[in-house]
Amino acid sequence: MSEDARTILDVEPGTYDAVSHLKIQVNKAVEGFQGGAHRSLHMGPSVEFSEHNRYSPGDDIRNIDWKALARTDRYFIKAHEREAQLSCLLLLDCSGSMSYRGSRSRFSKFDFAKILLGAFSHLLMKQGDAVGVIGFAETQNVLSPPKSHPGHLPVLMERLAAEPVQEQCRTGFSGVLKSAQARLGHRGMLVLASDMWQLDAEAEVILKGLVKKGHDVSVFHVVSPDELDLPFDRMVEFVGLEREPSVRLEPALIRHNYMNAMAAERERLFAVARSARIDMLSAVTSRELFEVLAEFATRRLKGRK
């Protein structure tokens, strides 16, 4: 990882070393004009054998499988998969709710998401993939279009680090997803870091559409542990981060019901992800960043197999 990239990742000492060896695989074949580390829909020069084809005049004789000729007395040409470059768009949720930190986390959800996406983009660019980032809430801010040249990473990191939370703004999933669809064009990868609380039916449809079009969609569901178990004891007036009316209550008395409701809501989100074949990963901000990325990479590898 370059020194610039560490402007974000340095807040998590050790993350640099921990994530450097990870490799992010794409579960689907991708389209790209430049060669890369991922399976392409097209055959091309690669070390990965794919199939045998009958030799026809004009084929490169370097591809003739001489062993197959010796066994069958026929000319076969070894077809190799072309390894394509991945075009990945990272979507950073900048809504007000992402500014929550909680009592047991070192980072706010927003910072955690930034670090996560920063490390993620570092890994992808190390593989030679093109990475772009869009920050979004009620408005979108294209921090960087997908690029793969090495000089792009420090710029991306810097812009990522400088992106602020949009206070009291809601998450506008539909707009950013449509925009991402247009930007990716061919089959690419879409990674969303958000708490997903504003995911509505329209956004669900768009997400499913993205998957159907062959995009590899992953979601980091960023939540604070406090959101999961409501660890407050005294009477509290809860003030909304996205313009919701405040609520006054004694958390201890509703904790049980709250935790049930929270579990149900998360289950709903994961169910939506499963049904749309979206890889959704719980990124609780009290977890180590390495754990989250490692889990994601592991799942990717398993999915590839």
């Binding site: 007036e237 209550l249 509703i254």
Partner: protein, 693 residues
């Protein structure tokens, strides 16, 4: 409800911090939070429940504090319930045993009410448990504690009861209850009880007394089987000189009261000086009184004792009533001379003494004794009918206090003016406050003005021959009227300044002459009216003698005895010849001492030992007789109280006022409330904490 330790209620102040903490806990703490949509979803179902719970928890917490604080204050409920209220906790019991005279009535052929009351008291003690304590107070006036306070050693207490004899005093139930409560206040026993054993012929217990009792109050009635009383009593004796101090004849009037419902014909006998003196019969109608009058002429002067007696009936102590009378041959006047010059017309009392000792035809002679203040200080005053304080410029405090007591007891005091500070000790009995002296120019003296001609002193004076109207006054005392004091101006100067004033003090009378009794400030002594004036004043003052007959008091009443400076010994001899001796050290610096030993009816005689009087000498004027209180004779009275104690009940066992200690119940309630509070608060938390874990 009442509290044994009411100061513990101060603990209720902790309610303030409790409510403050509770409210503070519920004060809003603002937290920006992302998942409000989930909170709102949950709250929609539970909001009302939370609000109710919040107030319920507060109410339960307040109740917990109330319960524990109240329990520490050891409350008792006031319960009016026959049979009393008792729990299993240790009991402190004070038995009020009525030993008043009425308890000598027979309740059956074999027993008096007091004997039965003793049996009941012993039985009550027998029922007490080892941890219980008891004290016994005799209810007769004055109340008397016969145990060493509350004791768990019950056998000696029961034995003491066995040895008790019935008394002759009136009852003092209210005082006894108050004293019993004072004893119980010192006890730490959880249950406290006052048990009154009485024949119910007492005065009703005052409602305030019952109200202030912080213990169970029970009354155990000792009622005779026959309810119809036929008691007849000698209820009053009046002894009056029959000849206006002109002879030694007295009229003795005995009032007989029939408390029964049938007419009674009685033999009434009079005994004087331990000898039968007269006898007669008297018919008394039911519920009425009749008077039997005896005339008697005493041969000797001095104090004579006697009694009037009627036939025996169911209640004997009131069939005899004692009397004492002081027979005089002359009016004894003590003149305290403030400016003594023996044999000289310049002597302060030269004219007074001459005027007093001049015989008046048909009148009781006046005997005077002139003493200087220093001698008067150590002289008993009780034997004198009238005292003149003539020009005394300085009066010792001791003599002043004795003069005040003398007047209050019915004596007559004549005070004439002097320059000095002798007024201060006499202030309580003076007709007005003396502020100074006014002198006139010798050429223009004041003259006597109006006099109260209707007053006995001036009534028989012949206006023309007395020359009093020409009396010149060159100096007199200035007075400042005291509106709270009732007084009469009997004579005044021509400018309206009072010259002679009268004030009644208790039983006695004080006359104040605002000028001198000699010729220093006035020429009154040389006026023809001077002699009849001082003689009439003396005889007028001595007319209160009837009130100063030897005292007749009820048994049990304390009697004040006058103490003279230098008195070495004072002895009271009871009718049973029992002597109570007050030694010199108990008499020092006192003007009176209270004798509390009037326990039996009869004559009480007093002796004193004064230096220079040659040993013990009797003080006849201090003697007194004690009789059974009239209130004890009406045996048909019922003691009324809440719960209506009726004499028609047999050996009533009635609780007037029960005290049920409830602090243990409050503790239990507090514990249960604690559990409830824990359940209320913990119910929501338990699941949440488990979940969080």
């Amino acid at each position: 409800m009442s509290f044994a330790s009411p100061w513990m209620l101060l603990g209720l102040l902790s309610l303030g911090p409790l409510i403050w903490l509770h409210v503070k806990r519920y004060q809003r703490q603002k937290v920006a939070f992302p998942t409000l949509f989930i909170l709102q979803r949950v709250m929609q179902k539970q909001q009302k429940q939370f609000q109710v719970k919040h107030w319920v928890v507060l109410a339960v917490r307040i109740l917990i504090v109330l319960m524990f604080v109240s329990a520490l204050a050891r409350p008792s409920l006031t319960v009016w319930r026959p049979g009393g209220v008792r729990s299993g906790l240790p009991l402190a019991q004070v038995i009020l045993l009525d030993n008043s005279a009425s308890m000598q009535q027979r309740v059956d052929d074999a027993q008096t009410a007091f004997e039965r009351a003793k049996q009941m008291a012993v039985a009550e003690i027998g029922r007490l448990r080892p941890q219980d304590s008891v004290a016994i107070i005799l209810v007769g006036k004055p109340p008397r504690l016969i145990t060493d306070g509350l004791t768990t050693d019950k056998e000696p207490a029961a034995l003491k009861i066995d040895t008790l004899l019935a008394g002759y005093a009136a009852d003092a139930i209210d005082d006894s209850i108050v004293r019993a409560q004072q004893l119980l206040d010192k006890s730490s026993a959880a249950q406290k009880e006052i048990l009154l054993i009485t024949d119910l012929s007492a005065q009703p217990v005052l409602p305030e007394t019952v109200k202030n009792v912080q213990s169970t109050l029970r009354i155990l009635g000792v009622a005779p089987k026959t309810r119809v009383s036929s008691n007849v009593a000698v209820s009053r004796i009046d002894v009056r000189p029959s000849g206006e101090n002109k002879a030694r004849e007295v009229a003795i009037r005995a009032t007989i009261t029939n408390f029964g419902d049938t007419e009674k014909k009685l033999d009434v006998s009079l005994s004087l000086d331990n000898k039968p003196a007269a006898k007669g019969t008297l018919t008394v109608k039911p519920r009425q009184t009749a008077v039997k009058e005896f005339q008697h002429r005493f041969d000797d002067k001095g104090v004579h004792f006697g009694w009037v007696q009627i036939d025996d009936d169911e209640f004997t102590p009131d069939n005899i009533r004692y009397l004492a009378t002081n027979v005089r041959r002359a009016i004894h006047v003590l003149v305290i001379n403030g400016d003594s010059r023996p044999g000289s017309y310049l002597d302060e009392v030269f004219y007074l003494q001459k005027a007093l000792e001049t015989p008046m035809g048909g009148e009781v002679p006046i005997h005077t004794l002139v003493l200087e203040p220093e001698i008067a200080k150590v002289t008993p005053l009780e034997g004198y009918d009238v005292i003149f304080l003539a020009g005394v410029k300085r009066l010792s405090t001791g003599l002043g206090e004795r003069l005040v007591a003398y007047v209050e007891d019915g004596g007559g005091l004549f005070i004439s003016a002097a320059e000095g500070d002798s007024w201060t000790p006499l202030q309580p009995i003076l007709p007005a406050q003396i502020t100074g002296v006014r002198r006139s120019d010798k050429k223009t003296p004041y003259h006597m003005g109006a006099v109260a001609l209707t007053h006995p002193i001036f009534q028989t004076l012949d206006e023309d021959s007395t020359g009093l109207e020409k009396t010149e006054v060159a100096g007199h005392l200035l007075l400042e009227p005291n509106p709270t004091v009732e007084r009469k101006v009997l004579a005044q100067l021509d400018d309206g300044i009072p010259l002679l004033l009268e004030r009644k003090v208790s039983e006695g009378t004080v006359l104040l002459l605002t000028t001198t009794i000699d010729r220093d400030w006035t020429d009154l002594p040389i006026r023809p009216g001077y002699l009849p004036l001082v003689q009439r004043a003396t005889r007028y003052l001595s007319r209160s003698l009837a009130h100063r007959e030897p005292r007749a008091i009820d048994v049990g009443t304390p009697v004040p005895l006058a103490v003279v400076e230098g008195m070495q010994k004072l002895i009271v001899s009871s009718p049973q010849k029992k002597r109570t001796v007050y030694a010199a050290h108990r008499l020092t610096n006192r003007t009176r001492i209270w004798f509390n030993g009037t326990t039996v009816p009869g004559s009480y005689r007093i002796w004193s030992e004064m230096p220079g009087f040659g040993g013990l000498s009797e003080l006849p004027s201090s003697a007194f007789v004690a009789n059974v209180a009239k209130t004890e004779s009406d045996l048909s009275k019922k003691m009324k109280q809440s719960g209506e104690v009726s004499r028609d009940d047999k050996d009533m066992y009635t609780a007037l006022k029960g005290k049920l200690p409830i602090w243990s119940h409050l503790l239990l309630a507090g514990m249960l409330l604690l559990l409830l509070e824990a359940a209320l608060v913990g119910a929501g938390l338990r699941k949440s904490h488990l979940k969080r874990r």
